[in-house]
């Protein structure tokens, strides 16, 4: 039975109408957007546009309704309550909201349960995206807490057993990616959340590479906080989401302050709204929220079970294709192991930039570089790799095109000669 995803859904994407031969294998960096998303945003801006949450006009009411409706769509998509979804600039911003809020609490500006002190520990993995590493480094530097991490092996992988060795009653935060943006490894989230509860630590889930590609029920997974970005899940840039359990979000100090997030303000002092609005300072990315909501609705329409099955098939084909080319080394889970449809690899004797250039010349868009994960690449003994990552519109033909082009790389650069 042919999957309804892949080729058939490409008709929904203006980008593929404009570039029918494009082999777009860079969804892990940013996705293309269906017309439903583009139109939702455009229609909103062209006719309904007005200030949200401020003033009393009918137009403001309509705009506010569309904005909050988008929040419900996104919340429903990830199994969250609507008060549990905060708009952020991107996932990076959402991670910073947590770390900076904890820094404020540590400086005495908010709920003590978020305060860190010398002796406290923050645990991450060596595979994290810089967005889920540097904010914790800075938080540790500000509070005297210690940053600890679980190391990766020569494929870039870590295990929960190794993580257990690092976690202790001193651990206050465990921050990790649901799906690694370099290796495609899927973390055992529920087990780690249980481990965190045992030691009384908060869990922070970087769900950037999972939410767009598989059914994710954040409430059910039992994590405390999570983040994801609209632009990786068929939505616009300029918006991302912070998820937090309602009770925690209401207590976390808002690092960014300004209009629309307050109750009473005097020259000396300001009181803040409950979540989610306490974190939404200033004019929000309104049309972007509407687009983000439409993206969630579009994916829900495809069905995330179907998306996962489709991408599972692509993942297997990607692994098979990459491993079939002599001189190409796959990073991440080996063939047959569970993984996402996101694969990074090294070509013996050819720099990733040069690999990417040849692929680009063949109409294949991939990502080259350190993918914002320098420590992981350092552990692998390289500065950069090439990454091919799929989405709902990816096809087995895309994978075949990659295989063929990869087969030519070492020859073109004269490494085989």
């Amino acid at each position: 039975m042919p999957t309804p995803l892949g080729a058939p859904v490409r008709a929904d994407f203006p980008y593929f109408q404009a570039h029918p031969h494009s082999v777009y294998l860079d969804t892990g960096a940013t996705s293309q957007r269906p017309a439903a998303v583009l139109d939702a945003e455009t229609d909103f801006v062209r006719s309904d546009y007005a200030a949200v949450h401020r003033g009393s006009s009918m137009a403001t009411g309509e705009a506010t309704w569309a904005f909050e409706n988008a929040r419900e769509q996104v919340a429903g998509f990830v199994g969250a309550g609507e008060r549990e979804i905060v708009w952020a600039q991107n996932a990076t911003d959402a991670l910073n909201m947590i770390a900076l809020g904890m820094a404020d609490a540590s400086a005495g500006l908010g709920d003590d349960r978020f305060a860190l002190r010398a002796g406290d520990e923050i645990v991450v993995t060596e595979a994290e995206h810089h967005a889920n590493l540097i904010p914790w480094q800075r938080l540790a530097a500000k509070t005297g807490a210690t940053l600890r991490w679980v190391s990766v092996d020569d494929r870039g992988l870590w295990t929960i057993d190794a993580l257990r060795e690092v976690v202790s009653p001193r651990t206050r935060v465990i921050a990790f990616a649901h799906v690694s943006n370099v290796t495609g490894l899927i973390a055992p989230v529920a087990d780690i959340a249980a481990l965190a509860r045992e030691v009384g630590a908060l869990t922070v889930l970087d769900a950037c590479q999972s939410v767009p590609h598989m059914p994710v029920d954040l409430g059910g997974l039992g994590v405390d906080f999570a983040v994801f970005s609209s632009h990786k899940m068929l939505g616009p840039t300029g918006i991302g989401a912070l998820y937090g359990r309602a009770e925690l979000l209401d207590a976390l100090p808002p690092a960014r302050t300004g209009g629309s997030m307050i109750t009473v303000v005097s020259m000396e002092q300001a009181d803040f709204l409950p979540a989610p609005h306490r974190f939404e300072a200033g004019t929000q990315p309104v049309s972007q929220a509407v687009g983000f909501g439409a993206a969630a609705a579009y994916l829900q329409g495809l069905g995330m079970d179907a998306v996962f099955r489709h991408e599972h098939e692509i993942a297997a084909a990607l692994v098979e294709a990459i491993e079939s080319v002599p001189g190409v080394r796959l990073i991440g889970p080996a063939a047959g192991q569970p993984r996402a449809a996101l694969t990074s690899f090294l070509v013996d004797g050819v720099h990733a930039h040069d690999v990417g250039q040849l692929l680009d010349d063949r109409g294949i868009t991939v990502r080259t570089g350190h993918h914002c994960a320098q420590p992981l690449h350092r552990a692998l003994g390289t500065a950069s790799s090439t990454r091919a990552s799929a989405g709902v519109y990816s096809t087995l033909d895309d994978v075949e095109a990659l295989r063929v082009a990869l087969g030519d790389v070492r020859g073109f650069f004269g490494v085989d000669r």
């Binding site: 009393s56 009411g61 009473v264």
Partner: protein
Amino acid sequence: MSGLEAMYQELILDHAKTPEGKGDPSGHPFTHHELNPSCGDEITLGITVEEGRIAGLDWDGQGCSISMSSASIMSELLTGASRTDALARIEEFREMMRSRGKVEPSEALGDAAAFQNTAKYVMRVKCAMLAWVALEADLKASLAA
């Protein structure tokens, strides 16, 4: 009748000008302060509960004619009501206000039915709800006491 006239019926404007129940809430055992942060409107509402009924109710506050008349009409409707009835009326009022004017009020809402038109204006729903939310908080506090 324009949307504006439907919203500001004579009844509503009259209540706004000569409000019922406006007085000093501080003598009551249960008082609650409620604020609409988007405009600064506020109300403090106090109640005395005797044998499960709202035996006394006073409120003070400042706000637009919707929030003030809503407080007034609610005072008239619910002073003397049983706690159970009052909570049910608050829930019905909330449902009507959240329906963007689609849910028809039952007879039990009395003059408060006049706010059905306000419900079409999303930004004014909070104005109309202000007193009702305060009363709900007082009633819940009295239940917990």
